[in-house]
Structure formats: C-alpha cells, structure tokens
C-alpha cells in the first residue's frame, strides 16, 4: 500500500451550542474553505471526497448530496459514511483507503454535526426503538424502572454502568473521574476550537450534581455545532503540495457484542470490556510498526463522551497496564507537558459535534505532529507517534488511527 499523509485540517471558526446564522451546508463550507486556506490547495487539486455525519441527529437524508456544491464535490467521486460516534474517523479511514489503494492521490474528508437543528436523543433512540417498543409490549416499565428492564443508568444510559465497572476493575476512585474532567476542561480552555472553554478545577467538577452515580453532570459532554475537514495525500503528492505532513501509519477498527441494544435476544454484556478497542489497537499498532505502545506513543486523543472513558481507553488500547491510567493521572503524566499528554484538545468531553468528534482526534494529532496547533495546547515535546481513537455504535464499535512524523510500517 502507498504512504498516505494528512496535509491539512480545516475547522469551522467555532464549535458552539447553536449556530443560528448558517444552515448545515453553509456551516460545512466554512471548514472546507479553511482546509483550502490552510493548505493553499484549490478544489481542482481534490480527486475525491468522503463525507460523514449521522442522519438521524438532524433528520436530513443524504445531506452530502444536498450540500454537494458547498462541499466543492460537483463532478467528483463522493462517498458518505455513517458509523455512529466513530463516523469522523471512519470517514478519514475511507479517505485513507481511497489513497492507499492507488485509486486517488488527494482526497478531502468532510465531517460535521449541527446538533442544534435536530434531536440527538431521538436519533439515539432510533437505534433501539423496535426493541424498546417490543419490550414495552411484553410489559417492561419504560419510565418507572420496575421489573425486568432493558434500559437503565438514568440519563447517562449504560455509561454509568461502564464507569462503575471500570472503577471496580481498575482500582480508580470516582475522584479520579473528577480529576480527569478538570484536566480536560482546562486543556479545552486553551483550544480556540473547543466548545466548553473554561479553566476548571476538581472542586468545580465536584460542585456539579450526580446524574447517575458515579457520573456527575460535570463528567458529561456537550452537544455542539461544528465541522472538521481533513485533506490526505499520497506520498508523491505530499512532496509536491505540502509544507508539512502527519503520516497515517496504522488504521484499525473492530466490533464486538453490543453492550446495549438487541436486548430482546439476551445481548447485554459488560460495557467496560471493550474487546473491540483491543482488537482495533492491536491491528493499527502492528500496521504502524509500533511494538511497545507504552514506550513509543508520545500523545493520545481518546474519544470520551464521559470523563471516565479517557482513562479506560488508555488501558484498553494498551498505552498503559490495566489499572494504571489513574496512577499516571495522579503523577501528572497525562498533562500537556507530561509523558503521555492525553486529550490536550479537551477531548469529545469538551467539544462534541458527533460526526466530527472522531475526526477531531486524528486531526488534533496531525496538528500536534506538524506543530500547527492554534491556541495554547501545543504539546512541548516532539511528537513522533500519536494515537487517536473513536468509539460508538452500541458501545461496541471502535476505530484507531496511528499517526507519525515519518512513514512507518510494521
């Protein structure tokens, strides 16, 4: 396969709760224009386009075709991707496949969500709607929680069960979730493209109420409007077109049993097990020639709708031993100037335009490697290898992308 590198990133000028001044396609065009501006490329340089979001969150079917002009996609090969929370990274992987295969040389990957226009709860509910209605027909108490149910964990859903299970098996305490939350929110305060940008202390987080113990209001992500565009190119095009590059050295994705969903057929398992993460990481690291991720990975961008997840993923991806992530947090290793800076951007936990959320992870890694971070969250040390991660589906679909300052192969 050919070498493929990220040569530029374009964000919407802001990620916020409500962009009432633009429609979906107008908002996306801001990030498309930014990507062209940041790379000095024009639409003529682009061979093909991949595009990702979740249609049920806004209720717009085929938004890529509606917005083809704003996406500068007229007369170009164009493919839309929707894989849940992982959509952003799946869209990048698709662009990677387009180029690595030799089919195309320069591909633009467009990802976005404009959650203020829709109802993400309805969108998420659509995942299990038939089963929930079936359970109700068989006598499940949908709202009172009496009897044998399928859904629990209150407003946070099964994430609270995941957090409890993770704390139990790792030896971390609920206070470690507070600490991780404060660290990431404070990182986000340095990032002009983050949504919740307020320097936050552990005490600030602990002043927020519990929604479903062990998860507090201050442990949960916002819903955002925003778009992220990444341009990838083949090795020879990188030489001709780019002044800086971050190489995509390994990609992986994996699926395991749904931890939520298909519950009318006995399909509920430990939401903290995450075999798919181990599978996807092993594949991506092997492809990138990373033999010991604990030593070789310089930074991590983890997909964390909830603050406990950053710690959990570090363990599942093999960036530290099981039960060690909170120990690393305590000794400052996860800080921007630590051994393994984790979510220097503030993570999904601080900015969540869902279709773009799993794209912002590798985009941030690429900008860190290229030392093109705007704002105050540039990691001081040189980044040779970075790992980014996406998570979604019914708690069971994981994507991993390993990026590097040079092309590396296993």
């Amino acid at each position: 396969m050919r070498d493929v590198g990220i040569i530029g990133v374009g964000y919407t000028p802001v990620f916020v709760s409500k962009r009432k001044d633009v429609n979906i396609s107008e908002m996306i065009s801001e990030a498309v224009d930014a990507a062209f501006r940041n790379t000095n490329l024009t639409p003529d340089d682009i061979d093909a386009i991949t595009y990702g979001n979740m249609e049920t969150f806004e209720g717009v079917n085929m938004p890529h075709l509606w917005g083809a002009d704003h996406c500068r996609a007229i007369d170009k090969p164009y493919m839309r991707i929707a894989t849940g929370g992982t959509t952003g990274m799946s869209t990048l992987h698709s662009a990677y496949y387009h180029v690595a295969s030799g089919m195309h040389d320069v591909v633009m990957a467009i990802t976005w969500e404009k959650q203020s226009e829709g109802d993400s709860q309805v969108g998420l509910g659509g995942i299990v709607m038939p089963e929930a209605v079936c359970m109700a027909q068989f006598g499940m108490d949908l709202f009172g929680g009496k009897g044998m149910g399928a859904m629990g964990g209150g407003s946070t859903g099964a994430a609270a069960y995941q957090a409890t299970s993770y704390l139990h098996h790792s030896g971390a305490s609920p206070e470690h979730i507070d600490k991780m939350a404060a660290l990431e929110r404070s990182n986000a305060a340095l990032n002009p493209y983050a949504h919740l940008r307020k320097k936050t202390t552990v005490e600030d987080i602990q002043a927020t109420p519990f929604i479903a113990w062990p998860l507090r209001f201050g442990h949960t992500c916002p819903t955002s409007d925003g778009a992220t565009v990444v341009i990838v190119a083949s090795g020879d095009k990188v030489e001709k077109l780019a002044d800086s590059v971050a190489w995509i050295n390994g990609v992986g994705c994996g699926t395991s049993d749904p931890a939520t969903g298909n519950f009318i057929e006995g399909q509920i398992t430990d939401p903290a097990e995450q075999e798919a993460a181990k599978m996807a990481a092993a594949k991506a690291f092997a492809m990138a020639g990373i033999k010991d991720p604990k030593k070789e990975i310089d930074m991590a961008e983890m997909y964390n709708g909830f603050a406990h997840q950053s710690l959990m993923w570090l363990e599942k991806l093999g960036l530290c031993d099981e039960g060690q992530a909170h120990v690393m947090l305590d000794r400052g290793a996860l800080n921007i100037d630590g051994e393994l800076p984790t979510n220097a951007s503030g993570g999904v936990f601080s900015t969540n335009a869902i279709g773009a959320s799993a794209m912002n992870r590798p985009a941030e890694c690429a900008l860190q490697i290229m030392r093109k971070i705007e704002g105050g969250h540039q990691i001081p040390k040189k980044i040779k290898n970075a790992v980014s991660h996406g998570w979604g589906g019914m708690f069971q679909y994981v994507t991993v992308t390993v990026l590097g300052d040079e092309p590396r192969h296993g």
Binding site: G139, T164, P271
Partner: protein, 152 residues
C-alpha cells in the same frame, strides 16, 4: 479569536415521525420468557454447541452462528455485574428518590439483564453482590412480573 456570529437565519419546523415505521421482530425468546414468568420461572435458550445460555433467548447463537432452540431454566438469583444510582435528570434537577439499578447476571445465564434493587442503602451496593428476584403476587406473563430485586 475574533469570530462574530452572523444574523439569525429563518427557521422552519420539521418532523421525522419514527412512530409511523413498522419494524419486524421475531420475539420468540421474549414470548418464552414472559410465559415462564407466569410460573415465576425464568427461561432462556442454550446453544447446543458452545453451551452459552441467553436470556431472553435468541433464535441463533451469535458465537457459533447456528440455530438454537434448547429451552433452559435459569435461577431467579444472581450477581450484580455493575450498577448505577439515578440521582438527577439530565438537566441536573434532583430526582425525588434515588434509584439503584444494576446489570445482573442470573445464575445459570451467560447474559445480563437490568433491574432495580431495593432494600439496601446505595452506598453499600457493590459489584459481585448477590441478589434475588422479588416476584409480584399474581404474575400475568409480563416483564413486570418481576417487581424488583433485593440483596441477599
């Protein structure tokens, strides 16, 4: 950063009504389960190849990818695999009564169900805790025949 939001554009209301969709669902395993609950029993399906016991039962084993229809009864006691305590709604408004809910692995089953646990202070809840089913007095063949779970 110098970004100023532009003027608000026109907003039009729309609706995507998923209640108009008609989904096909086999539901055999659910029927088996609620029929057994009428007798205060819990029945699922066991894979004849790998022995995995699913509650409610599926029509095929997801590990072996073979049809399965062997009915097995599991116990109405089990172990808490994870739990959460519902304390507030999503806007942070406290709920009137904290509710302890758990993922429970019934003895004899390999999959988990979700239920409410009463009779214990939530602070004493722990993973690995043993619980038993409290049935309603007059079961009718419904998932609500299980009233709740109690710590043993």
């Amino acid at each position: 950063m110098t970004f100023e939001m532009g003027e608000e554009t026109r907003i039009v209301q729309g609706m995507w009504d998923i209640s108009t969709y008609q989904y096909m669902i086999d539901g055999r395993g659910m029927k088996l389960l609620v029929d057994s609950m009428k007798e205060k029993k819990i029945r699922g399906i066991k894979c004849s190849n790998c022995g995995t016991v699913y509650v409610p039962g599926p029509t095929f084993c997801r590990k072996c990818y073979i049809d399965c229809d062997e009915v097995v009864e599991v116990q109405d006691t089990g172990e808490v695999m994870s739990f959460a305590v519902e304390m507030a709604d999503v806007r942070g408004n406290p709920v009137e009564e904290f509710k302890l809910t758990a993922m429970i692995k019934l003895d004899g089953a390999d999959t988990w169900i979700i239920g409410t646990i009463t009779g214990i202070d939530w602070k004493d809840a722990r993973i690995g805790m043993r619980v038993k089913t409290i049935w309603v007095d007059e079961p009718v063949g419904s998932l609500s025949d299980i009233d709740r779970f109690e710590a043993i």
